[in-house]
Subunit: 214 residues, 2 copies
Amino acid sequence: MYSMWMAELAARAGCSVPTVKYYLREGLLHPGEATGATRARYDETHLQRLRLIRALTEVGGLRLETVHQVLDDIAHASSWHEAVGSAHTRLPGPFDDEAPPSAESAARVEAMLERQEWQLAPGHPQARRIARALDVLDGLGHPVSDRLLDLYAAALRPLAAYEVHAVHDVGPDGEPDVEPSVEAAVVGTLLQEPILLAIRRIAQENVSRRLAED
Amino acid sequence: MYSMWMAELAARAGCSVPTVKYYLREGLLHPGEATGATRARYDETHLQRLRLIRALTEVGGLRLETVHQVLDDIAHASSWHEAVGSAHTRLPGPFDDEAPPSAESAARVEAMLERQEWQLAPGHPQARRIARALDVLDGLGHPVSDRLLDLYAAALRPLAAYEVHAVHDVGPDGEPDVEPSVEAAVVGTLLQEPILLAIRRIAQENVSRRLAED
């Protein structure tokens, strides 16, 4: 396997040598192969891990502490589903540090989940985030209707099925290889979000353009 | 019209009096009705504006400078479509300060836009963000297929049509009132994003749960 010194590893990953040393000390990066008392060689697995950490922090906006927890979830998962669930629970979002949502908004989210026959893991922050967003938008005089929630759910349901099956089938012979496919799921959830949001904005502008031209 | 002193305005908006004074000085908040040399009364329009600023900064993650620009776009728009386009261009996203995307990814995004018959305003950052995301995901060994891009576009196209028509029809007698409907469009674009992303995560987890149970 191709191997390299730390300076080359850092350069190829686009980070500094002190950053690599820091990740090694913190256990975010696995040790290289020692070639003496103070030197070690690193390989593509180290480069891949550094790129993943960088993407999760810089693109995904995760704090390093959260990256550490998510990578631990991935490494120690006993099942694919469990790992995805716990990783999703750790991914940050707006409203996490705020007051609870109103009972009315919480009930509207519960009703939407029931209409979709969706269940949520205990302590799952997503329902709370949706309910708080409904409260904020209500307070601004731009309420979100139940119909729009259902449209979101209907649009995202087949997408989610495609996305999950795509990463679930990564392993050989139909037996998914837990670690890489969980990594793919977490990376996909978090790093594909900017793509989804950018396409939504483009789609909205094009509807708006058509309306302006009519 | 119900009116209030600054202390009540600040309390109802959930911010401090110095913050209100700062927004007044910066022109983010319009002056109240003077009742003496140093005192003024404020009304619901001030409260609404403060809630909007707070939502755009705290939920939308916009810097105050961007909020100012977006609010100026809304106030000075000559047409609804123009205002939405320029506001969208200002909304921040990942990759904005980075190197340009690879020619290959840029071409893939162009091809997707052509397949959808979508056009983009010049200088529009969304296509660049998508192409950079494709590069990052490629580098991580989790490439995004053209098929997934098309699925995103197909899922978001009818949603965008519903969303844009909903805010476009706000004005009386079919003649949209530019300021409120642009505000609704910007608020909707930015503040509904957490809802969309949370529903996507819930949908993914439920697909994953079904797979685990099978």
